[in-house]
Homo-oligomer: 409 residues x 2
């Protein structure tokens, strides 16, 4: 299968919840994108996806149950939405076949696979992007835009979290063939760092003049899933007393090359409202997602809860200004649409991927590093420099948010 100038033929692997969501909310209905092939190990999911695509976009893609079969088709790019532990191996296999990769988020299983990812890219130069939708959130981009204009002064501390009550999905998702339970039974660490770390890494120019150098990670006891299973299914449910490895709350503190600190909180097994806890503090002001506020004494806008929205008119990111004008579309409040817009635009224009393999390796490496630190009693562990020194000289031209939007406002 070959691309013509205007249409990208995509292979989508992984047709569980996220894969189905991507079809509906981010992939189908695009003029310049066709889903040429869909893949999952479960035949019923494959059939359902083929039917969905016919119903929504009017054609039937090829459906396969093996990833190798998909790669043989040579799509113009693959989109990976499989369980976490296959993300990097599947990305590597595609790059080796010279097929560009867009990869859904999750943590790595080892440092070694992060290095393999980087080495494969450096050998093949096949484009590979981590599809971190939260880098495209409206407030995340507004804050980035404000930071780049110097409004917060020098940024010295950021916080973020994946604070999302996933108890039902974890405990009972296996009935839907979900993969989270096995991780919570067996591993303890910051298993989902990129939703919060991605936007922070952009703010702090990680891999572009800065890098993450070390972390500590501390896990609480695991009580949330037991209590939930007991409440929902009674005390004799196997999960009501299962000795889960994963602590309910994992706190990771990262130190960067220029002394900035980042606190990440994974918090997925207790009852709570959703939050990514995005928090940016500089020498002139701060942003706090917890109460949707910007504190900028010099701005003339009074500080109060919810006042972030008052900054939108002046400081919304150009990408979002355009998006709001054109009509927000795509899942997760538009972020899913934007992240794929960026991926496809970079592919079609031959531009650098806005979230590249160095970002992907560094962000995903937090998971195994966090597991190591927890295993050793919160010992500080070094975060590898996956750019092998290039971070000191990689500069503004690599800065995705600006390169994607310059001159387009």
């Amino acid at each position: 299968m070959k691309t013509n100038d205007s249409v990208l033929h995509i292979g989508l692997v992984g047709l569980g919840n996220r894969g189905q969501e991507l079809l509906k909310l981010a992939l189908l209905g695009r003029d310049n994108v066709k889903i040429a092939c869909v893949c999952d190990v479960y035949e019923d999911r494959v059939q359902a996806a083929v039917d969905l695509i016919e119903q929504m976009d009017g054609y039937r893609p090829l459906g396969v149950t093996s990833y190798e079969q998909m790669l043989i088709q040579k799509p113009d790019a693959v989109v990976i939405a499989t369980p976490w532990e296959t993300h990097i191996p599947f990305a590597i296999a595609a790059m080796k076949a010279n097929i560009p990769v867009g990869c859904e988020v999750g943590g790595a299983t080892s440092l070694d696979e992060c290095w393999q990812l980087v080495h494969t890219y450096e050998e093949t130069h096949t484009p590979c992007m981590l599809l971190e939708n939260c880098c495209f959130g409206q407030d995340e981009l507004m804050v980035l835009h404000m930071v780049r204009q110097g409004l917060f002064g020098e940024v010295v501390h950021c916080e973020g979290g994946y604070r999302h009550d996933l108890r039902e999905e974890i405990c009972f998702g296996e009935e839907n063939r979900h993969y989270r339970l096995r991780h919570y039974k067996n591993r303890s660490g910051e298993n989902y760092p990129t939703h919060e770390l991605g936007p922070i890494a952009k703010v702090l120019r990680i891999n572009r003049g800065n890098r993450m150098v070390s972390l500590t990670s501390t896990a609480s006891c695991a009580r949330g899933l037991n209590a939930y299973a007991k409440e929902k299914r009674g005390e004799h449910d196997l999960l009501a007393t299962y000795p889960f490895a994963q602590g309910d709350v994992v706190t990771t503190v990262i130190r960067c090359a220029h002394g900035e600190t980042i606190t990440l909180t994974l918090d997925t097994t207790l009852p709570r409202p959703y939050s990514r806890g995005f928090h940016v503090q500089g020498t002139k002001g701060m942003y706090e997602e917890a109460n949707r506020s910007v504190f900028l004494p010099d701005s003339g806008i009074p500080y109060e809860f919810h006042n972030a929205s008052e900054y939108r008119e002046r400081f919304d990111h150009p990408m979002w200004k355009r998006f709001v004008k054109d009509g927000v579309r795509g899942g997760h409040g538009g972020m899913d649409g934007l992240v794929f817009d960026a991926f496809f635009a970079a592919l079609q224009q031959g531009k650098p991927m806005p979230i590249d393999v160095y970002d992907m390796a560094a962000w995903m490496s937090i998971t195994p590093l966090s597991e190591q630190s927890i295993a050793c009693g919160s010992m500080p562990v070094a975060i590898p420099d996956f750019t092998s020194g290039a971070w000191c000289s990689r500069g503004e031209e690599e800065e995705w948010a600006y390169s994607l939007t310059q001159g387009k406002e």
Copy 2:
């Protein structure tokens, strides 16, 4: 000087900002308390305090410039409001003279002085209380009251902070003989842990069936004070380029004996609104100060920002219910009044101090332990058991909030 049954004669040492505030907002105007003696190394402060007491309460106390002179007077108790580094030495000296102690908050300078504090108490049995006013905050006590009733389920994670823009006081407070600057020039650590840790320690029953076992601490770079001094006094001001030791934001993660985790954030040198970031999460619900909310799915009260106030009628702590009915008085929204009420009541009734030397040593030890961890690259360090094993059996009867309020609602 001797006490009669109804009146306590108090010595107050330290007449800077906090000492003056305590006189006006917590000590004067009480029927059962007289300030018998005031002490400061600065003669002008002593005279001002003597004049203030005459003006407000109608008598002139003795004024001295040496702490030894004050102890010789044998007041019924001393209240210590001096710079941080003298808190524990002054408390020890008073206990050795059999004079009960109420001590203002701050961090310790060494683990050794924490042990000395405990040993001196165990030798003398002189009552000694840390005057942690934030343990008496309305929301802190409401949350504690709700936790004790099981509403949050099993509490597994707490957060707190001392997030207070002190740049003016630190940079220019020396002109008012303030002591913070020397700490920020020379030390780097969690220098003020107890405002947030105190209420959390009560929630988690620290020293009463639980204890803090280890911590890691990470400091950001120090940029806030330089930027502030430069902005206020120009780039040639000495502080505009002073290489401060204290990082702007210090994140400390504590692990407790039963696996609960506590994240503390010291954040005093960047522009920001005040917050203690109090946050309590259990298997059934959570409280979050950042948006003044309670999330309790089973409560029937809808979750939204600011909804904590809707829980007050049902769950306000009995101490606060009474306080609100009688008329809130005292500094810091009433907390200063309540903490002294508790101290004086325990003294006069011969009851255990609600925040005792074991609490004081454990909470204040976080400062030198944090410095050690930071000095060793965020190395985990063990937190001593200052109760020498007694924490396993010290129980409910020691639980101050309940013992102070039982049967009095």
